[in-house]
């Protein structure tokens, strides 16, 4: 069904259809309405979920970890400082291989305090061990929330999955979203079958072990195997979901007019939509420009992205967060795919911090800027000098 809804509502709808056993959330702008919608569903008896209203995000993730270890299907949502408070326990969730799904309404980190969009919060959790997916639109946020559930619970993967959607730009903006019938979603995600439920008293199990230097390393290597299994599972899930919804989800990234492109932008999130419109305009003028929109950020598909960019002359990698003291994290990710071999010229653009708007003119400026560029350059887009 096609409806006009905000990104919040799209995420809450996906959650309603998945109907997890437990949702533990603490409200924070710009995520609050996800929690509010879901609380309403619970209150009205539309879902049987146990909603745990906790006193902080640290507790939210702790409750999620406990519930997930117990064998429950668990979803949460947060943003910004909330994720910062949660991140200690997010590492625990990943280390324990708990398939917790989280919607992250991307927002900047303090100081200065700001409620608007950038990707600092996602970057903060970059090395947490959570899989991270970025949505371009409310539609993609809805679709990936559903796919994330299967990805997280895949037997070989078993990791937390974060679905990123740009705060305000996607969360608070009403867009046309096509939802699936409830039954289709329920069939798609299926029943959750936890391998070692803590509450199964007939099969006792010890969770949260202490590991000395003789085992910690091995357990961390085994955790990496979950990440290594994720790409294949991601593609399989995309394929099955595309057949279900009719929207083409294929690959770790979306290649937009990339085939013969000389100048290319690599970007994540809603800015990719704006960039597509600019690519169309410039293509009409005969300019060979293209876009690579990253869906799957962790694990990072560096080989596939390198292959897709190999024919380009110059690439602008756009990071919506500063990695203080170095080039942007996405930039380094993309460049790593070319380690030791020749590739295009790579420029890093930092953009859109704290909700700084990214109009089409700025994207056009990036494409123009690629005509003269040197690898390793760090540029700031839309900044007053």
């Amino acid at each position: 069904m096609r409806k006009v809804m905000t990104g919040h509502k799209a995420v809450a709808e996906a959650m309603r259809q998945i109907e997890p056993d437990v949702v533990a959330v603490y409200p924070i702008t710009p995520q609050s309405e996800i929690a509010e919608y879901y609380a309403e569903y619970v209150h009205n008896g539309i879902v049987k979920t146990e909603l745990i209203p906790v006193e902080s995000e640290h507790s939210a993730m702790s409750a999620c970890v406990g519930a997930s270890a117990a064998g429950a299907r668990v979803i949460t949502a947060t943003a910004s400082q909330g994720l910062a408070l949660m991140v200690e326990v997010l590492y625990v969730a990943a280390g324990l291989r708990l398939p917790i799904v989280m919607a992250l309404a991307n927002r900047s980190l303090s100081a200065p305090i700001n409620i608007h969009c950038d990707h600092s919060d996602a970057y903060l959790a970059r090395d947490s061990g959570a899989i991270q997916i970025f949505a371009e639109s409310a539609q993609e946020a809805y679709d990936y929330m559903i796919m994330a559930q299967k990805l997280a619970e895949n037997a070989k993967v078993r990791l937390p999955v974060i679905v990123n959607l740009d705060g305000f730009t996607l969360t608070h903006s009403s867009q046309v979203v096509e939802t699936l019938p409830d039954e289709a979603v329920k069939d798609f995600v299926g029943e959750y079958d936890p391998p070692y439920p803590l509450l199964d008293v007939d099969r006792p199990v010890t969770w949260g072990v202490f590991a000395m230097p003789d085992y910690y390393f091995e357990l961390k290597r085994a955790q990496q195997a979950g990440m290594e299994a994720a790409p294949e599972a991601f593609l399989e899930i995309q394929k099955a979901y595309s057949e279900l919804c009719g929207r083409p989800y294929k690959g770790f990234f979306e290649a937009y007019k990339l085939d013969d492109a000389e100048r290319v932008i690599v970007v994540m999130g809603s800015t990719a939509g704006t960039a597509k419109a600019v690519v169309d305009e410039l293509r009409d003028k005969g300019e060979r420009v293209g876009l690579l929109k990253v869906w799957l950020w962790r694990p990072f598909p560096r080989a596939e992205i390198a292959e897709a960019l190999a024919g380009a002359k110059a690439v602008a990698v756009m990071d919506r967060a500063i990695s203080f003291g170095n080039l942007g994290a996405l930039y380094l990710d993309v460049v790593s795919g070319f380690a030791g071999r020749p590739g295009p010229t790579f420029v890093n653009y930092i953009y859109g911090l704290g909700g700084r708007d990214v109009p089409m003119e700025h994207i056009a400026e990036v494409f123009e800027g690629l005509k003269e560029a040197e690898t390793g350059e760090l540029r700031y887009l839309g900044l007053r000098e």
Binding site: G95, L96, R97, L98, R158, P195, Y196, R203, P204, V205, T206, W207, V209, A211, D214, Y215, F217, E218, L219, R221, A222, A225, G226
Partner: protein, 105 residues
């Protein structure tokens, strides 16, 4: 590779052999890990002085008091670490901490 752990001789496993998330299926890890060997002082329980108030059983952090039909019957020296909480809490002085003379139990 063979190596001696603190209480057990164990075969260290490859990362590929470990259960997901490092869980230990079957639980019961205390059964395998005999923490009694860590003890420097051992509690000695005097059955005649004991009034079975169960304060020792309640406070023991290692669940090392044997209990049968609401009565203390002895101490699990395989797991008692010798912390002395039981001796401190006992209202009738029925538990005495004595130095270990080596040899575990």
């Amino acid at each position: 590779m063979r190596r001696r752990g603190c209480t057990l001789a164990v075969e260290l496993k490859s990362w590929k052999e470990l259960p997901v998330g490092g869980v230990i299926p079957g639980g019961a890890t205390p059964e395998l890990n005999k923490t009694g060997s860590w003890r420097a002082k051992r509690p000695v329980w005097n059955a005649e002085k004991c009034v079975h108030c169960l304060q020792c059983w309640l406070h023991c952090p290692d669940n090392s008091f044997f209990l049968k039909e609401q009565k203390i019957t002895g101490i699990d020296y395989d797991h008692c670490k010798g912390c002395g909480v039981c001796a401190a809490i006992c209202p009738v002085g029925a538990i005495e901490m004595v130095p270990e003379r080596g040899g575990g139990r």
